[in-house]
């Protein structure tokens, strides 16, 4: 049974490389939890299937059962009835501590062990699993670098010497130590200040791009859920699920008045936050290779002008944008520095709008993870891509249907 839980992402993807759909990593079947002294159940017949590599956020008002649901997955709370499967195996088949060793766990107050150094904290699970010393040491350095903490600087510090954001990073590193396929996170970013929270969220999203864990994430912050998750589960009153869906689905079509009220007035702004550039179509732009000489540049500029573009983007040999060229008053090409590029995978429409508004140009250059040029986006393009998403709210921002 342990084998199945230890399945590393590589092995898992081999298993999964066929054409069959992503199998579910976590499955809740009719799971309920009620306490003797309370009348109504806190979780009532919940059925939910979470796919491998999926990032699911559980959200809703306090007391809605989202944290209870999370804790039933690693059996910190035992369900009153129903069944929970991880990789097809009943969680009750393992001793609870063995089960938990195979699942990463991050909590709100971080819960770092104050008497242990950062290295010892990160090594907690490998030590439980009986890893060799040098393997553990290598893993510690790898993880600390991964979460953006220089190992030589932080390895031997104690938790009290860290800021809230740094402690949270160590908490994530500790949860990832034994490379568990599943990560459970209980309001992990709630205890840090808003600015740190945003940067932690961004970093974590970027990390998730590379590690592709199955993540169940509890938050009361609807905007956070929308920003981070692939799929959002909104718990409603009486422990019923009010809506399940991708953030764009929920934001563009809230299931009922309850969901609408939870989303609040900033719904459209949130929609902008959770639509990434990869989800919209980019516009092409005339480009030219860096190696080209003055003559070719002038020709390219002339062609661009013919298409109504007053400048050409210069790319290096790896297709990375370098700078703009313009035609100056004397008919010579003039170089103009590139002020910003947007990342296709992580930049949201909201961030893109901000950049476009502040940019001297009316459009922004978009690159992929390797910084290679993908296209440009401008406000018109954003309005165009929002039209199908914004639904009934389109009129508010004047999107043409």
């Amino acid at each position: 049974m342990q084998v199945a839980l230890d399945l590393s992402p590589q092995e898992a993807s081999q298993v999964d490389s066929g054409v069959k759909p992503r199998r579910s990593a976590i499955e809740l079947r009719d799971v309920s939890k009620h306490y003797k002294d309370a009348g109504a159940p806190i979780v009532d017949k919940l059925t939910l299937s979470i796919a491998e590599g999926e990032f699911v956020a559980l959200t809703g008002p306090s007391g809605c059962g989202k944290t209870t649901t999370l804790k039933m997955i690693n059996r910190l709370i035992e369900p009153s009835s129903g069944q929970i499967l991880i990789n097809g195996l009943d969680v009750d088949d393992l001793p609870s501590h063995r089960l938990r060793q195979g699942i990463g766990y991050v909590i709100q107050n971080v819960g770092l062990f104050p008497h242990m150094t950062i290295a010892e904290n990160v090594a907690a699970v490998p030590r439980l699993l009986g890893w060799k010393k040098d393997r553990t040491a290598n893993r510690i350095d790898e993880l600390l670098s991964m979460v953006g903490l220089e190992p030589s600087m932080y390895r031997d510090r104690y938790p009290r010497e860290l800021s809230g954001g740094q402690a949270q990073r160590v908490g994530v590193a500790r949860a990832l130590a034994a490379d568990p396929p599943i990560l459970l996170m209980d309001e992990p970013f709630a205890a840090v200040d808003p600015i740190t929270r945003t940067s932690l969220q961004d970093e974590f999203l970027r990390l998730q791009q590379s590690i592709r864990k199955t993540i169940v994430f509890v938050t009361h912050d609807m905007a956070e859920a929308m920003r981070l998750a692939d799929r959002v589960v909104i718990f409603g009153p009486q422990s019923k699920i009010a809506q399940v869906g991708a953030p764009t689905e929920v934001l563009s079509a809230p299931a009922d008045a309850f969901v609408s009220s939870m989303l609040g007035t900033g719904r459209l702004v949130q929609l902008l936050s959770c639509v990434k550039l990869r989800d919209v179509s980019l516009d092409p732009w005339p480009t030219i290779s860096e190696e080209m000489g003055q003559d070719e540049r002038l020709v390219a500029l002339a062609e661009a002008l013919g298409r109504g573009k007053d400048r050409v983007l210069v790319l290096d040999e790896a297709k990375r944008p370098r700078y703009w060229i313009y035609l100056d008053g004397n008919g010579e090409s003039m170089r103009f520095e590139l002020d910003c590029t947007l990342d296709l995978e992580v930049t949201s429409l909201r961030d893109a709008i901000t950049q476009i508004v502040y940019c001297p140009h009316d459009c922004a250059v978009v690159v992929d993870g390797d910084e290679s040029f993908q296209g440009v986006i401008d406000l018109k393009g954003i309005r165009r891509s929002l039209a199908p998403l914004a639904g009934s709210s389109a009129s508010i921002i004047g999107v043409d249907k």
Partner: protein
């Protein structure tokens, strides 16, 4: 002053051997008390309903006059080392147990949840997380307990126990004689010195064993 030096000249080896036996009984009592307190503490940890009654017993038991307790031992255990040790252990257990329970209860629930959540068993969590975190409080209990036991051990001479109490009671019994004051004075000074040495020892233990992360 000359009377004091004269006393030391013929009494010093009694003073030294009594100091040594005083230290021995204190150390033995502390060791036994530590074991007893740990077992009781563990019991209170596993059965949380036991913690409250144990805590109130530990605070009220300390108000018992030691002389009365020693007196109670005579009909049961007679005179000598054993009844003294038993009374000392009873006294020593109280502060140790009290701080043990308090220390273990003072750990933040978030840390405990994290420990369980990453897959520690209850026993492992106790020894890897809880005891190290409660350790500064536990050592304080040991330190306080040892101070008290050094003092109470002197009263043990009442039931024929070993230690500096013999010289002390001797001197008190012969108030007015020339040796009375030197005897009481030198025994008291030795008891103080032992107490100071033990205090230093526990300070050192605490420096060496408490993690710098929580010092």
């Amino acid at each position: 002053m000359s009377g004091y030096l004269q006393y030391l000249r013929y009494g010093y080896h009694t003073l030294i051997s009594e100091s040594l036996s005083h230290i021995v009984i204190v150390v033995v009592a502390m060791l036994v008390a530590f074991i007893v307190a740990s077992l009781l503490g563990l019991l209170a940890y596993r059965r949380s309903w036991l913690a409250e009654p144990l805590l109130s017993i530990t605070s009220t038991a300390l108000t018992l006059p030691s002389l009365a307790l020693f007196g109670l031992m005579i009909p049961i255990f007679g005179l000598g080392f054993v009844p003294t040790l038993i009374v000392l252990v009873i006294y020593a257990v109280m502060p140790i147990l009290r701080n043990l329970i308090t220390g273990l209860n003072s750990i933040s629930p978030a840390i405990l949840e994290a420990a369980t959540g990453i897959g520690m068993t209850r026993t492992r969590r106790l020894f890897v997380v809880e005891v190290p975190l409660a350790w500064p409080i536990i050592v304080t209990g040991l330190r306080f307990s040892s101070m008290m036991v050094v003092g109470v051990a002197a009263v043990g001479a009442y039931v024929g126990g070993p230690g500096l109490g013999a010289t002390l009671f001797n001197g008190l019994a012969e108030v007015g004689s020339r040796s009375a004051v030197p005897e009481v004075l030198s025994a008291t000074i030795m008891i103080l010195l032992i107490a100071i040495a033990l205090d230093g020892l526990f300070w050192l233990i605490s420096r060496l064993t408490v993690s710098p992360g929580i010092r």
